[in-house]
């Protein structure tokens, strides 16, 4: 995939790049004599794991490419690159989606959650996955964890059948499938317990 520009802030009039939005605004005001900063397409604002980004992206960048290669969120992996394996799963506005089949330019205003964010929040899923060793080579694991997190957000007490259906789009060639429902059910119990502790009776 062609690299068109580094993430940063480039001037829509002359393409000079800047490190911060304020520098860009100063430049636009001084050099081009206008205060209003036009928003050309390719200029997106998005939130990744709570951190806000304002970036310029090329139309043919996938969200996966932006997250993994440009911003360094390497949790999502690419394997099939055609939407069939689930390794590149991220959560966009609560929905588990495939970042390899999503264009970065279409993610303006979206709230994105990756495996890094789930790990940083110390979600019980991570511990449960380690405890039950629901991985072998580990390449597909972030995709499974992100999908499971999206499931638990919506359905805090899933059955084994519901877990199997939610994870049906994640492939694991090591064959760790039986471990995932065990780990997810244990994590779900912890999430529910933590929730009831926090809610006053």
């Amino acid at each position: 995939m062609a690299v068109a520009a580094k993430p940063g802030y480039s001037c829509p009039y002359c393409a000079t790049s800047f490190n911060t939005v304020d520098d860009l605004k100063d430049h636009v005001l001084k050099v081009h004599g206008t205060e209003a900063l036009p928003r050309p397409e390719g200029y997106v604002k998005l939130t990744v794991n709570g951190q806000a980004w304002e970036l310029e992206v090329a139309p043919n960048w996938t969200l996966f490419y932006l997250l993994h290669d440009q911003l360094g969120y390497t949790g999502a992996k690419t394997f099939c690159d055609r939407g069939a394996c689930g390794s590149c799963t991220v959560i966009i506005d609560g929905r588990p989606v495939l970042s390899c089949m999503t264009l970065a330019i279409e993610c303006d205003g979206k709230n994105i959650e990756t495996a890094e964010g789930i790990a940083a929040a110390k979600h019980p899923l991570i511990e449960a996955y380690v405890k039950h060793h629901a991985m072998q080579c580990g390449y597909c694991t972030p995709g499974f964890v992100v999908t499971a997190k999206a499931l638990l957000d919506r359905n805090p007490d899933p059955t084994v059948e519901e877990i199997k259906e939610a994870l049906a789009g994640n492939l694991c060639r090591c064959g760790t499938y039986p471990q995932h429902p065990i780990a997810i059910i244990e994590a779900a119990k912890k999430v529910l317990a933590a929730r009831s502790e926090n809610t006053p009776a």
Partner: protein
């Protein structure tokens, strides 16, 4: 992926005008699960110069029920349709078709409009880098006829009878069985008239036309959807079938049966429908209807097995419609 221009359409008119400006060289993108795969693989002789994103058009993502009529916006994602109570209650075939499509992730991305507008499946047509310049691309010959045709049409060819690629949508047969109407930016057509395979196209849509709404009239009877695929998840159907049966005093008064993945367009099994009219639903009549459904089959060298699966799918779908009390 090579580069292209990208437009976020704010209204249907804006999307149409950009498409018109590019005169067939622009492609609509909604969920993107089909179009991005096509672009990454570069299966087509011409690469789109522009993508028109219609996800930014407000008001096309909804499911409404008005007096039994269900109206679904073209941008409604399949997962939302599968989980919608109104759809589950009156159009079980549609809810089940949505639930059986691909995987959770793809259902969270893919829209109903995109699902019915997806391109046909054939591993020669879809081979990366346009390696087979086949009939549907204007190359003059279908490679499936003498090649490996295990997943190809059993009801003859399309595009002047020469292309054996199949339409694999799960939503399409359900919409045909439920007699849905498809509203586009300029007209409204019945679902079964919407699909038409031609050179590089699978629907009647013009280059500057997009699907906006799908309208399902109040169903006259219970409906059912069955899908046969190698794996339960992700896979496209080998054969799928949707049926709707209206019953009065135990006898079928109206029958609509549609198979898919067996032809270039959803295949309405009219002969099976004729068998069912005026009889009750039981093993024998469903079996007879299944046989009638495949009476016109002309399988290729390696897809004869699909004929038997099609027969069984029709039989099971009919039997599952025998629920007069549920609606």
């Amino acid at each position: 992926m090579r580069s292209f221009a990208h437009f976020n359409a704010a209204t249907v008119d804006e999307a149409v005008s950009v498409l018109r400006r590019y005169g067939g060289k622009a492609t609509v993108i909604a969920g993107g699960t089909d179009v991005l795969g096509r672009m990454k693989d570069e299966i087509l002789p011409a690469y789109p110069e522009a993508l028109v994103n219609i996800k930014t058009i407000p008001g096309l993502d909804f499911i409404d029920e008005i007096d039994g009529v269900i109206i679904i916006g073209a941008l409604t994602r399949l997962e939302d349709i599968a989980l919608n109570r109104a759809v589950q209650a009156s159009c079980p075939a549609l809810a089940e078709a949505a639930r059986r499509t691909a995987s959770t992730h793809l259902r969270e991305m893919g829209t109903i409009g995109g699902n019915i507008c997806q391109d046909v499946r054939c591993w020669y047509y879809r081979n990366p880098d346009n390696r087979f310049s086949c009939l549907k691309k204007g190359g003059g010959r279908c490679y499936a006829i003498n090649g490996d045709n295990r997943y190809h049409s059993i009801f003859g060819g399309s595009v002047d009878q020469g292309c054996y690629a199949v339409h694999v949508s799960d939503m399409a047969p359900a919409l045909v069985a439920l007699d849905a109407a498809i509203k586009t930016s300029r007209r409204e057509v019945r679902a079964e008239e919407f699909f038409k395979v031609g050179m590089l196209r699978t629907t009647i849509l013009d280059d500057d036309e997009i699907v906006t709404e799908i309208k399902i009239p109040k169903p006259v009877g219970w409906s059912a959807f069955f899908k046969f695929a190698l794996r339960k998840a992700i896979d496209f159907p080998i054969v799928n079938c949707a049926a709707m049966m209206a019953l009065a005093e135990g006898k079928v008064t109206e029958a609509r049966i549609c198979l898919n993945a067996v032809h270039g367009t959803p295949y309405r099994a009219r002969k099976a429908e004729e068998v069912m009219i005026g009889v009750s639903i039981n093993e024998d009549t469903a079996e007879a209807a299944g046989s009638a459904a495949i009476s016109a089959a002309i399988p290729l060298t390696k897809n004869g097995y699909m004929v038997q699966i099609a027969k069984t799918m029709v039989k099971r779908a009919i039997l599952a419609c025998n629920c007069p009390d549920k609606l």
